[in-house]
């Protein structure tokens, strides 16, 4: 379908923009390795030259870089001799993916559940409780949350380990810290969506059939209410991705996020560049998938693929 082609085209352009932006930003950094005034150990300089042809004019370097990416080569580290970005990804991504995957699943489930409960108990105490949850999630930054969780639960109460990635107990606090904000946003979305859905005529029709409220909610209200959640999945993924930088650092989890933070600390520019491109591609992929999923799931949209979404 034309829609699909359009989507993929947009995605490719965005990726290109990210790569270009990152490339030129890195080269513009004063004091960066690409700045000829900076002095780096010879061995590293040799590596860099081989990889990036630092003597070539900028545009040629750019094209070479693009070619490398097309080949799947995302660069080498300046600080850690011999370590390629691909290696780093291979080591760190599985851990981050696991953490992120659990987090987003937890966020969606708890968010939807809380949103439904709040909508069905509007303005009563359950609704109030949920809104406290939402408020907490949206105002306490994830890094603060991590700290608080570690302090109260790991140190004071000693219920769960404060760090590292060993065994399922280690996953609880990091997932909580990562998932709270997305869960809170989803809960809020679902609540208002469901409240609106419940006031629609087709809910009255469903009840008029003689269906009990539970069936009406599950079969008619819920499917119509969660469509907006789908559009939020893209931003939620981005949030969890960037959240992983902090959470993995604080909890000392050997994931990609921690690597990214370290490379920022160390000013390991080539790694920063490579990881940024990777992250960018990942997010674009997820956003595109979500967009396509949305058109498949909403029958009103399926029929008119050429229309602006």
């Amino acid at each position: 379908m034309r829609y699909l082609v359009n989507k993929l085209g947009s995605a490719a352009i965005t990726l290109l923009v990210i790569i270009t932006l990152t490339f030129f930003l890195m080269h513009a950094i004063p004091g960066g390795p690409f700045d000829s005034a900076k002095k780096l150990p010879d061995s590293i300089m040799q590596n860099l030259n081989a990889r990036y042809n630092l003597d070539d004019p900028l545009w040629r370097q750019y094209l070479a870089y693009l070619k490398n990416i097309a080949k799947g080569d995302l660069g080498v580290s300046i600080k850690y001799e011999g370590k390629t970005v691909n290696q780093i990804i291979r080591e760190g991504f599985p851990v981050s993916a696991l953490l992120g995957g659990i987090a987003i699943t937890a966020a969606v489930f708890s968010g939807v559940l809380l949103g439904v409960v709040a909508a069905l108990n509007r303005n009563r105490w359950l609704d109030y409780l949920v809104s406290l949850f939402v408020t907490g999630g949206t105002s306490i930054p994830s890094f603060v949350l991590s700290g608080l969780l570690i302090y109260f639960i790991a140190i004071k109460l000693m219920w769960l380990p404060p760090a590292f990635w060993e065994g399922p107990e280690s996953a609880v606090l990091p997932v909580l810290a990562l998932a709270w904000l997305p869960a809170a946003t989803i809960a809020r979305l679902v609540r208002s969506s469901m409240i609106e859905v419940l006031s629609q005529d087709y809910i009255k029709t469903a009840r008029a059939k003689g269906l009990v409220m539970k069936t009406v909610v599950v079969r008619h209200a819920l499917p119509n209410s969660i469509l907006p959640v789908l559009t939020y999945l893209g931003p939620a993924a981005a949030l969890i991705l960037t959240g992983s930088f902090v959470v993995e650092s604080i909890f000392t989890i050997p994931g990609l996020g921690k690597w990214f933070v370290m490379s920022v600390f160390n000013r390991d520019y080539t790694v920063i560049m490579g990881l940024t491109v990777f992250y960018g591609a990942l997010l674009i992929l997820m956003n595109t998938l979500v967009d396509i999923a949305y058109t498949l799931l909403d029958p009103r949209i399926r029929i008119f693929p050429a229309e602006e979404r």
Binding site: Q200, Y202, G210, L211, P299
Partner: protein
């Protein structure tokens, strides 16, 4: 011959509490419904007729509903105050309802056939195949000649007329005794209006379906209903047989409405009713129509009139028709 009274509504009152104040949607409505009868309830938007329809089925949400009083007796069962678990038995199976706009009254992401099947399967043990067959049959009854095709469509793929028939099919699926039609023709064009009304008449003739028809279209209602209730601001102002209401209107509001219609010669005698429709949150004491009534008297502005019998089966709620009222001065 006393017909069985299927439904008896006595002094039904429904009010809503919103930030602006209390809205008295229905202020004391009473009527009876006989088996096989087609009762029309006519009035402008906001007069309370939709609320009555939903009150019968217990579909009024409790907040913001403040007051739900009176009695609605279905046979010997009292519907007001009935527990939800009991109401679920009545809805669809004994009393069905068809809402106004098929675009809004059908679940947009569910295929139409599935929505009918769902209605069929409530409280019955049928295999999916049996339910589907029955759904197709009902679609045919509603005058759809390509039921297999329509079965698989989504609501937004149907025209207004088709959608309305689907709503009727859903309502009929439970095999109810009474069908409440809430402005089913309002969203339709003239041709579809006529055919839908024709369908309802057929249903009444074929399966003795009792119908309550809510509408603001007086002409339509007069044409096919047996009896008519005219409502204004939450109260019944005139009630009688269709022919009487149309040919012998008594209440000034009803007469005003009829005057707005083109007369038999096709001429439009443009005589609109003066004033603005009443705001249900700010109701005047006395008769709600008094501010706009060309024949109002002093008493009209103070007391709400009760019903006065002016002929067999013809009741008017207007002080003008109290026996002995002649000679009283008109209000200035």
């Amino acid at each position: 011959m006393e017909l069985d009274k299927l439904l008896t509504v006595t002094e039904l009152k429904v009010s809503f509490t919103i930030p602006r104040g209390e809205i008295k949607a229905v202020r004391g409505v009473s009527f009876q419904l006989a088996q096989g009868e087609i009762l029309g309830i006519v009035g402008e938007s906001g007069c309370g007729k939709s609320v009555i329809g939903q009150a019968i089925l217990g579909l009024i949400p409790l907040p913001p509903c403040g007051v739900l009083a009176g009695s609605i007796k279905y046979g010997s069962e009292e519907l007001i105050g009935m527990k939800e678990s009991e109401l679920v038995r009545v809805r669809g199976k004994k009393i069905g309802i068809v809402f106004q706009d098929p675009a809004a009254a059908l679940n947009p992401i569910m295929k139409v056939g599935k929505q009918i099947v769902e209605a069929i399967q409530v409280g019955r043990k049928l295999t999916r195949k049996e339910a589907v067959l029955e759904a197709l049959k009902i679609l045919e009854i509603t005058g759809i000649n390509n039921p297999d095709e329509i079965f698989h469509r989504y609501p937004h793929e149907l025209s207004g007329g088709l959608g309305q028939r689907v709503l009727v099919a859903i309502a009929l699926a439970g095999q109810p005794e009474i069908l409440i039609a809430d402005e089913p023709t309002t969203a339709l064009d003239t041709m579809s209006k006529v055919s839908l009304v024709g369908l309802l008449q057929e249903l009444r003739d074929d399966i003795n379906l009792t119908i309550i028809f809510l509408s603001h279209d007086l002409v339509l209602v007069a044409r096919f209903c047996h009896r008519i209730l005219v409502m204004y601001a939450g109260l019944v102002v005139e009630e009688g047989r269709a022919a009487d209401i149309f040919n012998n209107p008594r209440h000034p509001y009803l007469r005003g409405l009829l005057q707005c219609l083109p007369n038999t010669a096709g001429e439009n005698v443009f005589a609109p009713i003066q004033g603005q429709p009443v705001d249900p949150a700010v109701l005047p004491p006395g008769c709600a129509f008094a501010p706009r009534c060309p024949e109002r008297m002093a008493v009209c502005q103070e007391l709400n009139p009760g019903g006065f019998q002016v002929a067999a089966d013809h009741i008017v709620c207007c002080w003008l028709f109290q026996p002995g009222i002649k000679g009283i001065k008109k209000a200035t």
